[in-house]
């Protein structure tokens, strides 16, 4: 379990930003896996399976947040507010802020490809979308991320 703790934390933090829900969703991921264990056939690796659960639960949380916050504040993610308030110049906060600005569809691709280091094919399989869609979403997201992060990170224009 400890082996998968950090990649799952990275997946959920990438999707939601650093917030209280990260820990609870992390617990839910492992509980869901434990419950699904009798049905787990081993077609995919444990890490892939856990990551898929983490992405799905994070997307649910984003939908829940959107429903909850739409009436009260215009910003979709609490992560964006938080990273503006706390340590705004740290690398972690800058990445978090940039991820929060992406749409959930683009964010899950970026989290799987760039944060977790999965291949394009693995990402496509996990998100149940075509490889071409992964590539196009990633290309658009990379461009946006470069635009947002370039002022803070030098030597970033490396393909």
């Amino acid at each position: 379990m400890r082996r998968y703790e950090r990649p799952i934390a990275a997946t959920i933090t990438g999707m939601l930003g650093r917030c209280d829900e990260v820990d609870e969703i992390g617990q839910q991921v492992f509980i869901r896996f434990y419950e699904a264990l009798p049905k787990f056939r081993g077609d995919s690796s444990v890490k892939t399976y856990l990551t898929r659960i983490a992405i799905n639960l994070s997307l649910n949380e984003l939908k829940r947040r959107k429903r909850r916050f739409t009436l009260f504040r215009p910003v979709e993610d609490a992560a964006e507010i938080r990273s503006n308030d706390a340590e705004p110049h740290s690398d972690m906060a800058l990445i978090e802020q940039a991820l929060a600005r992406l749409s959930p569809d683009a964010r899950d691709v970026v989290v799987l490809r760039l944060v977790n280091g999965y291949s394009t094919e693995e990402t496509a399989e996990m998100l149940a979308i075509p490889v071409g869609t992964v590539l196009s979403r990633l290309s658009i997201a990379r461009k946006k991320l470069r635009d947002w992060l370039a002022p803070h990170f030098t030597d970033m224009i490396k393909e």
Binding site: E5, L149, D155
Partner: protein
């Protein structure tokens, strides 16, 4: 703002992944939750019995409150201090007699 040296966008995200973590004692807390889950699965009727007794407790408390309030009302409106007055026996008898009077035809 001072620019931070980074080889590439990928490196920045790798660093982000490396710095991500759950709150302390994540594994221990998870272990405790899984143990509780296993316990519930092993004795599913225990949790059912607990839920039922909790529900019953609420019903009993609500009933006791209603009876106390009604008794207080009966005592204050009857002007007599007895158990039968508290339970409104006198008012019940009056109601019963009244209804019989009304039903009986005049002679």
């Amino acid at each position: 703002m001072n620019p931070i040296q980074k080889d590439s966008l990928e490196d920045a995200f790798k660093q982000f992944a490396a710095e991500s973590h759950f709150q302390p004692h994540f594994a221990e807390r998870l272990q405790a939750r899984l143990s509780a889950l296993r316990e519930v699965r092993a004795n599913p009727f225990d949790i059912f019995a607990n839920e039922m007794s909790a529900l019953f407790r609420r019903v009993v408390i609500a009933g006791a409150v209603v009876i106390t309030l009604l008794s207080a009302y009966n005592l204050s409106s009857g002007g007599e201090w007895s158990v039968s007055a508290a339970f409104g026996v006198a008012q019940l008898a009056d109601m019963h007699e009244g209804s019989v009077d009304w039903m009986l035809p005049d002679e």
